[in-house]
């Protein structure tokens, strides 16, 4: 599903974020990516959804060779990857419903199936009653639920979440994690970068720890391993 083989990433300003990362994430894995700030977590995530290109090494996602991907093909690869961010990244001028529907309009789905599927995921994230609210009218937790709904609306094979609970209070964070687990349970691979010790330690999953650009730990049902 996601395969990295000796992946290096050096930015134009000279900083090297990843130094020879090799990892395999299988279909239906649930992976926490942990590590100190600036260790290379974000770069690791960005490579998966092709916001960055590896400087060296092999990287394939869903069978696509990301390093050699043509510019024109990028949108089509991203349609099979749902992305969730700390800052939600909803389109501010669109309602909750329209934000989710946008991802389906992009793949030119029929109007009827957009309507049906969008209502379905709104129900799944428990915000059917907020369908016509604008992002500015929603709480942080609600915005993140809408962002997750948008990420899963096209049934992607993998969800990439970069600190999805980073801006949320503990209680709301738990709600988001329940949702992630539900999505995982329905058959989606989840790669989630996080700083949240409680979540990692109590909802045990595979943990990949990145320090100074390399993977220092990779264990099933691992611990967070850092002071929060």
């Amino acid at each position: 599903m996601i395969e990295m083989h000796d992946v290096w990433k050096t930015y134009p300003d000279g900083t090297t974020a990843l130094r020879g990362v090799s990892v395999v994430i299988d279909r239906n894995d649930f992976v926490y990516v942990v590590g100190p700030s600036g260790a290379g977590k974000s770069t690791f995530m960005k490579l998966i959804y092709r916001e960055e290109v590896p400087t060296k090494g092999q990287l394939s996602v869903n069978g696509f060779n990301i390093g050699k991907l043509r510019q024109r093909k990028i949108p089509y690869v991203r349609r099979n990857i749902g992305v969730v961010f700390q800052d939600y990244r909803l389109l501010p001028k669109l309602t909750a419903y329209e934000n989710i529907a946008f991802a389906m309009e992009v793949i030119e789905a029929s109007k009827r199936s957009i309507r049906r599927r969008t209502m379905e995921v709104l129900e799944l994230v428990g915000l059917k009653h907020k369908a016509s609210s604008f992002p500015s009218q929603l709480s942080g937790g609600e915005q993140q639920r809408i962002a997750i709904a948008r990420a899963i609306v096209n049934n992607p094979s993998v969800i990439v979440a970069d600190e999805p609970t980073g801006n949320l209070d503990p209680e709301t964070s738990w709600g988001i994690m329940k949702l992630m687990e539900e999505i995982h349970y329905r058959g989606t691979t989840i790669v989630m970068a996080t700083h949240n010790k409680e979540i990692v330690n109590s909802m045990r999953k595979r943990v990949i720890a990145i320090e100074n650009g390399t993977i220092v730990r990779d264990e099933q049902r691992g611990e967070y391993g850092y002071e929060a």
Partner: protein, 307 residues
């Protein structure tokens, strides 16, 4: 890749939505189109009126051809025909010596009119002649030379004089041409200024949406999918702004003409009427506004698509 028809409709709908939901930014870019095209339109109207005035002056230019005294009727007809055959000539009017005397009398003061009495009929010392009217008054010198050539090729030399206000006419044309060119330069300069102003405003509205474009790309939208609604938005803002501008301008202009002619009594100045110039001015404004709207949005979006 071919786009579904329903997606095209989606883009058009989304373009309209962009205009309404961006509220103040749409109003700002429409405002800059309205204001700059209005200024452009004002100067276009001004230039066209000056042009019309220059035309009126120029159209008074004509050639007066004097024949030798006692030229036979057959010769007169022949010269008439030959001058009429010059391509630049619009019309030839025979002016008999009696007509000539009448015109001369009209131009005299009351006191001096008596001085001309006694020259009627057989005593008339004036020659017969023609008034030659031209399609393009600026060709007057050239046509005068052709008329002289007709005279030179005729053994009888029936023409005594070709008069077109030599010297004065050249000065008149120099002034009218200068005025026209000045108007053209100002209008062209204003058009460039309008382009600059509008593109800056539209760029600003899209700069605001740089983040949105980035999000759309993360969700897997292709560049053309992102571009289309912006394109529609550009058309709407450009067309809407220029239509408002043209409507206000022409309405203002027609009431200005009316009050200038009736209230101020400026009957002597013949303004270019709205029927005459309105189509051209409004058409130029609409086309320019729409093109600027499209251009502004397309250029600015392209800048942020490389995410």
């Amino acid at each position: 890749m071919a786009m579904k028809l329903s997606t095209l409709f989606r883009h058009i709908r989304e373009g309209f939505k962009n205009v309404t939901r961006n509220g103040w930014m749409s109003i700002a870019s429409m405002g800059s189109i309205i204001v700059s095209l209005f200024i452009l339109g004002v100067f276009m109207l001004l230039a066209m009126n000056v042009n019309k005035l220059a035309d009126q002056f120029e159209n008074q230019v004509e050639i007066r051809v004097y024949l030798q005294l006692g030229t036979e009727q057959a010769k007169i007809d022949e010269v008439n025909r030959l001058i009429g055959r010059i391509p630049e000539v619009k019309g030839v009017t025979f002016v008999s010596k009696d007509d000539g005397l009448k015109q001369l009398t009209e131009r005299m003061d009351e006191d001096n009119k008596e001085a001309l009495q006694g020259y009627e009929g057989v005593n008339n010392p004036l020659p017969d002649g023609f008034d030659v009217e031209l399609f393009d008054p600026q060709k007057v010198e050239d046509v005068a030379r052709q008329i002289e050539a007709i005279n030179a090729s005729d053994a009888d030399k029936p023409i005594s004089k070709v008069n077109y206000g030599q010297g004065t006419v050249e000065k008149l044309f120099r002034i009218t041409n200068a005025v026209r060119n000045f108007g053209l330069v100002i209008v062209a300069g204003l058009a460039v200024m309008a382009m600059f102003l509008i593109s800056t405003t539209i760029k600003m509205t899209i700069l605001n949406r740089r983040r949105e474009i980035g999000i759309m790309k993360l969700v897997g939208a292709t560049n053309s999918f992102i571009r289309w609604p912006f394109f529609v938005e550009g058309i709407l803002i450009g067309l809407g702004g220029s239509a408002i501008s043209a409507a206000v301008l022409l309405f203002g202009y027609s009431s200005l003409i009316r009050s200038a002619q009736y209230d101020l009594g400026l009957m002597l100045i013949e303004f270019a009427s709205v029927d005459e110039v309105g189509g051209f001015v409004a058409g130029t404004m609409l086309i320019l506004g729409t093109l600027l709207g499209i251009w502004g949005s397309v250029v600015s979006v392209r800048k942020y698509l490389k995410v």
